[in-house]
Amino acid sequence: MRSLTVGIVLLCLLVFVPLAFAKEAEYMVADPEMEKTVNEISAELRCLVCQNQTIADSNAPLAVDLKNQVRDMVESGQSQSDIIDYMVERYGDFVRYRPPMNASTMLLWVGPFLLLLIGVVVLVVNLRKRTAVIKNDEDLSVEENERLQRLLAAESSPQVAKRGNSSSQKAGEEKS
């Protein structure tokens, strides 16, 4: 069915589209290489009127204006940092999706790696302490495992479940 539709569509195409016309399409912009730079810069900038989009992604009028501004500035040979500075001067740091590194954003940039450091240190300290505490190689999990099996086995019959309940409570108290 689907292929039939496609076939009809193709047939119509053959009739209506003057194939001799086929030529290479033009780029929307004069200089596609430069447009890459424009897009890269635009992807760093926030569209201020949108909910949460870069000006590269948004079609809002202000986003289009700002993107044109970026294009003008790229054309006139300004660097990425010039353009971002220009935007920040007008709209504040809010316009940058890559927050600047300064005193108030230090925690933001360093935070994740600080967290990692803390995480690893806490982990290593804890593991060492743990190994020191459990000196004798008693495998608690075997004991626990046995109890687990007991429970699982016991609880599968309803009337025993009642008993399993109270006994497991005792077992828990012993452990803690």
Binding site: A22, A25, Q51, Y97, P99, L108, V160, S176
Partner: protein
């Protein structure tokens, strides 16, 4: 009348939830059996009431009852029926009702499939879930009642946001919510363990399958949302680090840590405190996500209508729920035992490292998401934190984690031997290095990050090959003569599931690396008959026709894609204008393939019958979602492992051989034998 029934059912559900929460937990704490037995029937009644309420709302949507304010605000009589039903969760109030319904379903499921748990444990778990439901039902009834009447009734509805009029809306939110809400089970088990003071390995075993199921759904939900954004938004992005995306990613990251930590707690009795804390965190982050989306503290494309009063309510609920849980944790956790001994180099340590990485990654995402709010509330200026930040921070955290992901499954429990592992892994390392160096040149161009991506993907896959072949060699002696597939099928499902999920990660990395490096994009001005050629595909623009949809008109472009003059695909990108909200929407034309997507989106008419057309060649992009779905499937497969079904199977067997009680040692031994043999592998 029907909406009033729904409203009334919701009020009754609240009353039942209070009983379910208070009586069941009190009964368990005081040891009053008659109170504890109420938990299960209460959960059933609660479910029925919420379901009645949901059906009433659905009725109002199907029959276009615009005297209901919520229906009038998100639906319209022209809206096709499937979207009228999906519109139930297309706005704030209805999506809350979906939350409540799914919570009731999960509670029912716990009540139904927990026959082999001690009664006090079951009542605590059901009780905690009842209390969560109390919070949500109160939130709904006091601030966001979906059944509020609109007098006089609207003539027609304001329509569903055109962005949401897509099959994505039918599946994405329910899957996501099943995941979010599913973590409440793990949470409830953790709280039950804390309440009872029995924080041993048993609770981990009980909650592990539930957690994995919830995790799988959340994974699938996130993947579906990403795919939806990919084809709906018109430029083929698939992840935007939007606050609301982050809100779903946070519970996923911590939930992933939880799934791994539960494995250790269950098998080795270690990290008990940590696992409990993770269970609390995971669900807390699900709740936090709800707060972020619904309170208006952050801007996002996904945000619901802003209402500070709602924000205060959810924040209060958050503080009560999470605050109480963490206080309970601080009170009980110091008494928990340490569990089995393991050396610094062991699978336990690898899994702990994985946990640290995932939690730190979640911390980084949380920090980036909340940092603008933090600065603003300290009056230190307004900043935006967007994709460039997250990309810069997230990647360095993920690389070591993925490296460990290859090693972890090969390390032995208790004590692993590094030189031994190195020698087992040398082939895997060689394969991934070689592929990382060669593949970029095969694809065209070499970049450092691309090589890294390939190395990580092949590292995962080859380490799985090493692990599988070692296992198969071991089992080969057990059943000589069996074919390879039969022998693979003989491996435990949990092990296979894990590997499927890990392969999913590799597939995902492969997709991301490929599409990020080798995507080609062209923004063209195309007249009828114009062609553009990229990566061997020729796209010919065959004009635009006006078409009528049920509630929109569209300009539908037609693009013929050929390879060497052979037709490869015909694409129909659309630009739609919906009648009611008159919002222009792009619908990309996509030809999906195993190794590439061809993606075309229609821009604006630019005179002379010409249109601006964006044409993309996206290699391996489908692997991003393919990989993610593999993760989800792996999770579900792992849950199907027979040791989780053991008890129920045995129960059935027992019904047949009546008279033999479970205390009979022979039966118990038979049942536990396979479990124990697996523990030692």
């Amino acid at each position: 009348m029907i909406p009033e029934i729904g409203h009334f059912a919701l009020i009754l559900a609240l009353c039942v939830a209070v009983v379910q929460g208070v009586v069941a937990i009190a009964g368990a704490q005081l040891g009053i059996r008659s109170w504890m037995v109420m938990a299960r029937p209460a959960a059933q009644v609660h479910f029925i009431l919420v379901a009645v309420s949901f059906v009433c709302l659905m009725y109002a949507f199907i029959y276009n009852d615009f005297s209901v304010e919520y229906v009038a605000s998100v639906s319209n009589s022209m809206l096709p029926i499937q979207y009228r039903i999906a519109a139930i969760w297309g706005g704030h109030e209805g999506s809350l009702l979906l939350w409540a319904l799914l919570l009731a379903i999960w509670t029912m499921a716990v009540a139904r499939y927990s026959r082999n748990l001690p009664l006090d444990m079951v009542s605590r778990v059901i009780g905690v879930m009842g209390l969560i439901s109390v919070g949500f039902l109160m939130f709904m009834l006091f601030t966001s009642n979906p059944f509020d009447r609109l007098l006089p009734a609207a003539l027609d509805g304001r329509d569903l946001n055109p962005l949401l009029q897509d099959p994505g809306l039918i599946f994405h939110p329910p899957l996501l919510y099943i995941g979010y809400v599913g973590f409440s089970v793990a949470f409830a088990f953790a709280i039950a363990a804390l309440l009872s003071g029995r924080m041993d390995a048993t609770w981990a075993r009980w909650s592990r399958p539930w957690t994995t199921i919830a995790w799988s759904f959340l994974t699938a939900g996130i993947a579906l949302g990403s795919w939806w954004a990919y084809y709906e938004l018109g430029w083929g992005g698939w992840w935007f680090w939007d606050p609301v995306e982050n809100a779903s990613f946070l519970p996923w990251l911590v939930g992933t840590a939880l799934v791994h930590s539960l494995a250790v707690t269950e098998k080795r009795g270690s990290f008990k405190n940590w696992t409990i804390l993770l269970a609390i965190f995971t669900f807390s982050l699900s709740l936090l996500g709800t707060f972020l989306v619904r309170s208006g503290v952050l801007t996002s494309v996904h945000a619901f209508a802003v209402d500070p009063e709602r924000g205060v309510f959810i924040l209060g609920f958050l503080v009560v729920t999470i605050g109480t849980s963490l206080a309970l944790f601080a009170w009980r956790a110091p008494k928990v035992g340490l569990g089995g001994r393991f050396s610094l180099v062991s699978r336990e340590t690898f899994l702990l490292m994985n946990n640290v990485m995932l939690v730190v990654a979640a911390g980084a995402v949380l920090l980036g998401t909340l940092y603008p709010l933090l600065l603003d509330s300290l009056d230190m200026g307004k900043i935006s934190v967007g994709p460039p930040y997250f990309d810069a921070v997230f990647l360095p955290l993920m690389v070591p984690m993925i490296f460990l992901m290859g090693l972890g499954p090969l390390a032995r429990w208790k004590q692993a031997d590094l030189p031994d592992m190195a020698s087992r892994m040398k082939w895997a390392a060689a394969v991934s290095l070689v592929m990382a160096l060669i593949l970029p040149f095969v694809m065209g161009e070499w970049f450092a990050l691309t090589s890294l991506g390939f190395a990580l993907a092949f590292w995962i896959v080859s380490s799985i090959v090493v692990s599988m072949s070692e296992r198969l060699r071991k089992t080969a002696s057990n059943n000589p003569g069996a074919g390879l597939l039969a022998r693979i099928a003989g491996l435990p499902n949990s092990y296979l599931g894990m590997n499927v999920a890990h392969v999913g990660v590799a597939v995902f990395i492969m997709g991301v690396t490929m599409v990020n490096t080798y995507e080609v994009e062209k923004d063209m001005r195309m007249e009828v008959g114009d062609t553009v050629t990229m990566s061997g595909y020729t796209f010919r623009f065959d004009g635009v026709t006006e078409v009528e949809g049920p509630n929109y008109t569209a300009s539908r472009g037609q693009i013929l894609v050929t390879v060497d003059d052979e037709t490869e695909a015909v694409l129909f990108p659309e630009k739609r204008v919906y009648f009611v909200q008159t919002m222009p929407m792009t619908e990309a034309g996509i030809d999906s393939g195993l190794f590439r997507d061809l993606y075309v989106s229609l821009g604006e008419p630019v005179g002379n019958g010409a249109w601006s057309v964006r044409v993309y060649y996206k290699p391996f992009v489908g692997w991003i979602w393919g990989g993610t779905f593999l993760m989800a499937i792996g999770g579900l497969f792992a849950v199907s492992d027979r040791r989780y079904r053991l008890a129920s199977r045995k129960r059935k067997a027992q019904k047949k051989t009546a008279g033999q009680t479970a205390t009979d040692p022979s039966v118990a031994d038979q049942a536990t034998a396979p479990v124990q043999s697996m523990e030692r592998e």
